[in-house]
Assembly symmetry: C2
């Protein structure tokens, strides 16, 4: 029994009857081209043009209204100006229509008036359980059933069903650029949807439907808004990554975000966060259409790969191998480390002058002995560290025998086999032999490396949530007033986040507090005020009682009141923050800390709850993490840094009813220890609005 | 009158008669395919197969030896095993042959024995003024004269002469991958050379010949060794960048370097340095073949562009514009800032609903009104900040009218016009209309951005060498013994490099020295020994006489002797080094300094002499440079940092007879000042071997 989500989307996308409201006889207009497009596509169901001013459209009888049809209408395509849409959708709801496509623009992408109009549609859709595509969309194609409910010269030429489903907020990309790129690739669409403003359908529901659809083996999502990416990420959390998903996120940079706002009214956000959250769910994130096509070929139908994709590489061109190695060295990919037995077998297969290390330079072999090439591929593909075997072509009069050998070898090796097409033969037959056997053929080493690296980066974070949240300890009076410096440190301290040794003090007890902690110390005016250091309220690196006394006297004169005394520690500076993201929920940010945190922008994100290995993986992607992990110049404490951030994550989840954000800058990491030195905590209702 | 270099290469590449020594009748062998390949290519000169065991090869009379030909032989192709080559080349020298191609491998790429054999060839070539391609090469094609002295199935199909000259150390790339990519592009070769081990010809001479050649408009170089890149860079220094040069450097990373050593026996080096030196000569550096082809299209025949390439962009697809903006935001490229008059004109041209900011969203225009599209392109192209107008296509039934409009607009705009082909029509006619008018057509936004960014990065450094070297001041006794800390600081100080305030002192005079300088101070044992700080020989941040006295007593007990006292300064840490590179000569390195300099690897290189603006441009490409330039968190002193590094460069050139390397880590930059704090100077004969 399909889930409610699957049934809802099935009704939307697989109708047995379609009405086109606003169908025109003028084929120069969009409204005049939909009915012919559907007919040309060979849709086997019923098709009803609706237009009170016409009796016939494209050779079909035309009805004055939906109700005049007098038969069940499953899907209604509305091609009317915005102001006439709501009424038609209301009629759809009354008549039991199961899904709607709304082409009109002028909604949320066009200002306040449009936002209201879109909200009306959403409310109607919810109350009537009537999903819709759009508004501001260009329709959809369901090639499984031969329904091409859009106009596109490239779709019109490529109506064979394939295994790739596309969900795109952009119509120009869906039915122009991507459709063109797919047509030039070995792939074809099962479904391609332009959801436009994407107000009437949950992307999670779409993904769940595509999981259930037997024709679809891989999914490409083009999303402009974080909210729609988050719908997918959450659904993957719930039901797993059952088929590979590739994401092209639009509106990434500042300028991109501005353009996206103009485009479909979605507010684009911080791309790095979105990418890290998606990749942490196993979704492959790419930067442009070409990379998307290549990544879709490389993922094939394997939903998730764990860890490092070791590459085994063979070519008959040394120059191409050098270039491939160059490209690899500036990516995160690595050559597989071959077992001795693999190398022995290669040595038997190849002449003495060939290089039998990885990459394998088979120059002297040529493509004249395809059976040897095949055995090299098979040998590499059976090495346990080798996850993808890459064959790099060069130009040849006839590559078909080599292609057949590669196909056969792929069938008898556990590794995936891929071809980097760095020049080939002209007939196209060799390429066809490869692609029809499901072997990815990617043009160029750099393009392959970008795609494979994107696939490698998509590693689902641990789904083990045991011990995710700690038990919250609330210091007396905590949260009843604004937090002072010392309240924040104490809150971390009692909840298991390692902090620098510290004491509260007054002017009189400063020296005693410092001596208890041990020199050197820092004294801070203990206040809820931010930027107290800019006013001279912080004195660093005091080495003895005399210095503390002198500094204390000066502070008393200027500020009076209470102080925080803490050990002055040296080491590497790490930043960590736990906060509530409006779309992705509780998220940890970690990276290089200190004064220049905004300039350096060295940060990675991981959704909470996160296990230590997830945090370690995120931290290793940052500069500070690499330095700590390598122990460069005596910098030690990677594991402690991970432990400290993990404790922060547990606390953040435990405290979600009390606190909206905890930012620590810096954690000082050195001598194998990581301690929080400065913390900024937002109490619920006083800081960012979302609770953790 | 052509230069000697041009004449030498003209004799090598444009022979009127060619002999093939080792020509075979077996067309399964390379030696049997060259003569037919030359005949098929339509070479109009004389062709002499040489083989004592045959009387006829491929329908031509075959001679037993070169001397048996009895006519002038201009070029001799030698396809014999290595051990027979030297004798033949000696005969070539005797007979007045003008150039040789040596196909045999087993030379420098194959070990010591081969290195010696190659050296013999080089000596012969020099003494006889007889240039050669190879050894270990696959020949060359000169399509200007119809001479295809190589076997390649792709060359055999594409023998029309074009304007692209290729010099490649790799044969597989030259006659396989790149030839294939060029055949699929709008370009064609004038010349394509595989120089293999590249022992018998200077790349500078080749470039000078191609400058003089009227058919060649752009040059692609594929080089594995730094030395060959340096030959080009030096020649460009001497005679200018007369035609655009694109460089694909092989053997870039660690693994790449290893593969390159196996391949042609060249020692590959530090790619970042090579790239910075080449880009500083105006050479466009790319990372793979696809990027090379695109960059060659974008450079066209314009040798050098100065500064920022502002982009004006127009599309009818909002999604594609968003994607383009995304891609741009992660590159160094920027949208042009349009003048108000440009925006006014666009507003007149486009309907009210269109976006008339840059990028221009002409969604409502469609490609149905090509004359409006043309006027938009022309308007953007006449804006002074707009250096390239980019038209992004989407799929259409017929793009020819739009293509014609773009071609016409390009003709009447000072900016370059380029097309990002993000989907098109199927006939190919529109693409042909664009490319035959010289308009670059690049597939995909990311590919375009990579190519245009590479073109933008290639900005020749200032060639003004006024005041390049200072006048050297040599402190008494300098260079007669190993340098102590204080000798190095003094050497910088008296030669105009700003240094931290400092004094020499003994145990007795430490306090007085510190008081003269002003607290806080640092005390160092003044020794030539490195890593004295690891032994406790450095005490930081002493704030008063008592602290100096205490620290001094402890140092006296442990070390005794002489000390250096210097001001303890805080600020950003910058690294700078001037050194002699074996291929590129004197070079400055600048970047983020401090303890983690090796981990952070944030460094750019600029050849000396360099003017302040060159150093500023290099520094801005580093993290520390960005931070200082933006004045983030009060970090100031960008100009002082540039001045300090400039002074270091002047000193390095002035001191080249005395000193081989000066490394300063760190320069402390803060409060608008930059001062050297720690310096390491290598005297000639004691450190790295090359003199500055």
């Amino acid at each position: 029994m399909p889930s409610a989500a699957v049934q809802r989307i099935e009704r939307l996308l697989r109708p047995r009857s379609v009405a086109v409201v606003g169908a025109s006889g003028d084929t120069n207009k969009l409204a005049g081209r939909i009915v012919p497009a559907i007919r040309q596509g060979g849709f086997a169901g019923k098709l009803f043009p609706i237009n009170p001013r016409r009796s016939e459209v494209a050779g079909l009888p035309c009805f004055p209204s939906l109700s005049a049809v007098g038969e069940q209408i499953d899907h209604c395509i509305v091609i009317l100006p915005r102001d006439q849409v709501q009424e038609v959708v209301e009629e759809c709801a009354r008549l039991g229509v199961q899904g709607v496509s709304i082409f009109a623009s002028g909604y949320a992408e066009a200002g306040e008036d449009g936002v209201r109009a879109q909200q009306q549609l959403v409310e109607l859709s919810r109350s009537a359980d009537l999903p819709f595509l759009g508004p501001n969309c260009m329709g959809f194609v369901n090639l499984v059933d031969g329904l091409t409910a859009t106009t596109s010269s490239v779709i019109a030429r490529n109506q064979e069903a394939g295994d790739l489903a596309l969900i795109s907020q952009s119509g120009g990309l869906a039915f122009g650029t991507i459709a063109y790129a797919v047509a030039e690739s070995p792939m074809a669409f099962s479904y391609a949807l332009n959801t436009g403003n994407s107000a009437g359908v949950d992307f999670g529901d779409l993904v769940e439907f595509l999981y259930a659809d037997e024709h679809t083996r891989r999914i490409l999502i083009v999303a402009e808004s974080n909210a729609h990416v988050a719908q997918v990420v959450r659904r993957v959390d719930e039901i797993g990554l059952q088929k590979p998903i590739v994401l092209l996120k639009l509106g990434r940079g500042e300028s991109g975000a501005a353009a996206a706002r103009g485009h479909t009214g979605s507010l684009a956000g911080d791309y790095e966060l979105v990418r890290d959250c998606a990749e942490g769910a196993g979704i492959v994130c790419v930067d442009d259409v070409a990379d998307a096509i290549n990544a879709l070929q490389v993922v094939g139908s394997a939903p998730a790969r764990e860890g490092r994709l070791g590459l085994g590489v063979v070519s008959i061109s040394g120059g191409n191998l050098t270039l491939f190695a160059d490209v690899l060295s500036s990516s995160e990919l690595e050559f597989a480390t071959l077992q001795a037995s693999t190398v022995d077998t290669l040595r038997e297969l190849l002449p003495g002058s060939a290089s039998v290390t990885n990459p394998v330079d088979a120059t002297f072999l040529g493509f004249d002995r395809p059976e040897v090439l095949g055995r090299v591929v098979e040998t590499l593909g059976n090495d346990p560290d080798c996850k993808i075997v890459v064959v790099i072509t060069t130009t040849a009069e006839d590559l078909r025998p080599a292609a057949r050998a590669v196909v056969d070898a792929a069938a008898s090796s556990p590794a995936q086999v891929a071809v980097v097409w760095n020049g080939g033969s002209y007939d196209g037959a060799a390429e066809g032999i490869l692609t029809s056997a499901g072997i990815p053929v990617v043009r160029g080493s750099a393009a392959f490396a970008r795609a494979a690296a994107a696939v490698q980066r998509a590693t689902p974070r641990t789904r083990d949530t045991t011990g995710a949240a700690g038990t919250l300890v609330t210091p007396a009076g905590f949260g009843t007033a604004e937090l002072r410096e010392s309240d924040s440190l104490e809150f971390l301290d009692v909840n298991g986040v390692p902090v620098v040794p510290w004491r509260r003090a007054t002017g009189d007890t400063l020296v005693a507090a410092a001596e208890e902690i041990g020199f050197p110390v820092v004294i801070k005016v203990d206040t809820a005020q931010t930027r107290i250091s800019d006013q001279g309220g912080v004195v660093l690196d005091l080495r003895n009682a005399a210095e503390v006394e002198k500094a204390g006297a000066e502070l008393e004169e200027k500020f009076g009141g209470d102080y925080l005394v803490a050990r002055f520690a040296g080491g590497a500076e790490m930043f960590a923050s736990a906060f509530q993201h409006p779309d992705f929920g509780p998220v940890l940010a970690v990276g290089t800390g200190g004064r220049l945190v905004e300039s350096i922008k060295d940060v990675t994100y991981v959704r909470l709850p996160a296990q230590p290995q997830d945090i370690a993986a995120a931290l290793r992607r940052t500069l500070i993490g690499k330095v700590l992990d390598e122990g460069a110049r005596g910098m030690s404490g990677f594991d402690s840094a991970v432990g400290a951030v993990h404790a922060l994550g547990r606390l953040a989840l435990a405290a979600r009813d009390v606190v909206t954000q905890i930012e620590i800058n810096p954690f000082i990491v050195g001598d194998g220890r990581a301690v929080a030195v400065d913390a900024s905590i937002h109490l619920k209702g006083t800081g960012p609005e979302e609770a953790l």
